[in-house]
């Protein structure tokens, strides 16, 4: 009897997740994050650096017969939801891949939209009760700034200046970013845009959505010993349970990468 009821409850939950509207899923995700993340913080090893490739906005929009721009906007909304969940885990640094140097090959319309979206959202983050204030987040735009239009650079500089004293979490937004160019910069100037992990901390968690299984020129140097999690969900559909799955995967398997990182460090010393 109990087995049948359990099966029915699980099947109903799966059907609900499959067919429920986005708003219902957002509400469930927020509740799951609020209820579970503080517990997970105590029972699981949580990496203090997380790297996200926010992939799948355009495919998400195409799958719903919506314009690409809607996909990118939903992608930003998803980022806000993610930060709500991550803030409960007390992660020190989150780096998200918003726009790569190779994305400059996209159409002029899409590029203009993305630049304007970045500018608007950088300003919006600073408003009262938004991301920065709610979660005490320091915001940095990392990448090749000289490739960006002036209004985006100004918005980025303002966001960095206004949040420079925030300490709970650093949000690095990789915009006009290329890991190859970053490593060339490392050769010339001796510094990285995103700091590298130290062996005393757990290795970073690298998450890429949409099912692709490559780095795509993102944080390759910093991810040499990261635990990599490729998830098939498209970015705008990313919710608390996907993050939970990635954390569980990390906890099952991260030790081997951590040991390898420590051994490499020891060899250098």
């Amino acid at each position: 009897m109990i087995l049948w009821i359990t099966t029915l409850v699980v099947a109903s939950a799966l059907l609900l997740l499959r067919f429920a509207s986005d708003r219902v899923l957002d509400a469930i995700s927020a509740w799951v994050a609020w209820a579970l993340m503080p517990i997970l913080k105590r029972v699981l090893v949580v990496p203090n650096r997380m790297y996200f490739v926010m992939d799948g906005n355009r495919r998400w929009a195409k799958g719903r017969n919506l314009q690409t721009q809607v996909g990118h906007l939903e992608g930003y909304n998803c980022l806000k939801r993610l930060l709500e969940a991550i803030s409960l885990l007390e992660v020190e640094e989150v780096t998200v891949y918003a726009f790569s140097v190779s994305n400059f090959q996209r159409t002029a319309t899409e590029k203009t939209y993305l630049m304007d979206l970045a500018c608007d959202k950088l300003k919006e983050m600073l408003t009262r009760n938004d991301i920065v204030e709610k979660h005490d987040v320091r915001v940095r735009l990392v990448g090749e700034h000289d490739m960006l239009p002036k209004h985006v650079i100004d918005a980025a500089n303002n966001a960095e200046k206004e949040t420079s004293k925030r300490t709970k979490c650093t949000l690095n937004i990789a915009f006009a970013y290329s890991s190859q160019l970053e490593m060339q910069n490392l050769r010339k100037k001796g510094s990285l845009y995103v700091s590298e992990p130290t062996p005393s901390s757990p290795p970073p968690l690298f998450i890429r959505t949409s099912g692709e299984s490559r780095f795509s020129d993102y944080l390759m140097y910093q991810s040499a010993f990261a635990h990599i999690c490729f998830q098939s969900v498209l970015w705008p559909d990313y919710r608390a349970w996907h993050l939970l799955a990635a954390l569980l995967d990390y906890n099952l398997y991260y030790k081997s990468a951590a040991a390898a990182m420590q051994k490499c460090f020891d060899k250098q010393n």
Binding site: W4, S102, S179, Q180, S213, S216, A224, A260
Partner: protein, 198 residues
């Protein structure tokens, strides 16, 4: 109760049918339409890395027509393994040696590039990390990287080669890896569309 059982069975039957079709479909090997020119293999420190296995993988890779293979282990390959690779008629290179296009295109022999932690990610300690980043890459980026380890990690394989490399993770028990598994990895590479940012 009987109606409940009937409903649940009715829901499960299509799932089982789809699963059976997928399993049966995997039995037929699909054609690989696009081959990588360079395949990389990474062994975690604790993974079994026997010369027999490395030689077998080289043989399977050559059968598919791949001409360059890089093999990474943090401690580097043992002399026994390197000797075994060379003895099979393959050309062995170190990371710093350039594999020219002419040599790389010679499909009669597999060019095996041997890598260790000295060539990979360097944790900065007493020296500047930028000293170790290569100004020029002596060999091409692997299009496919096959990793044997407990973590889903590249374990320090030189990351500057991996911008568009497909990553495939397997358990450290290499004895479970077979020509069929390599075929599946190559098929995954073949099926993948790389949009390169567009």
């Amino acid at each position: 109760m009987n109606e409940l059982i009937t409903i649940i069975v009715a829901l499960l039957v299509p799932v089982v049918v789809v699963a059976v079709i997928k399993i049966m479909g995997n039995g037929k090997q699909r054609e690989i339409k696009r081959l990588p020119s360079h395949v990389g293999i990474v062994f975690e420190d604790g993974a079994e890395m026997k010369s027999a296995f490395v030689s077998e993988v080289i043989k399977w890779v050559r059968q598919h027509g791949v001409s360059v293979l890089s093999v990474y282990h943090s401690r580097g390959l043992s002399e026994e393994v390197v000797a075994s690779i060379a003895a099979s008629g393959n050309q062995v290179f170190k990371a710093s040696e350039e594999v020219s296009a002419a040599v790389a295109n010679d499909t009669n022999k597999v060019k095996v590039i041997v890598l260790s932690h000295r060539d990979g990610r360097v944790i900065p300690s007493s020296f500047e990390p930028c000293d170790r980043l290569p100004a020029l890459k002596p060999f091409s980026d692997p299009e496919l990287l096959i990793i044997f380890g407990n973590s889903k990690s590249i374990y320090g394989y030189p990351p500057w080669y991996l911008s568009l490399t497909e990553l495939r993770f397997h358990s450290p028990t290499v004895s479970s890896y077979s020509p069929a598994a390599l075929h599946a990895d190559l098929l995954h590479y073949s099926d993948t569309k790389v949009l390169k940012g567009v």
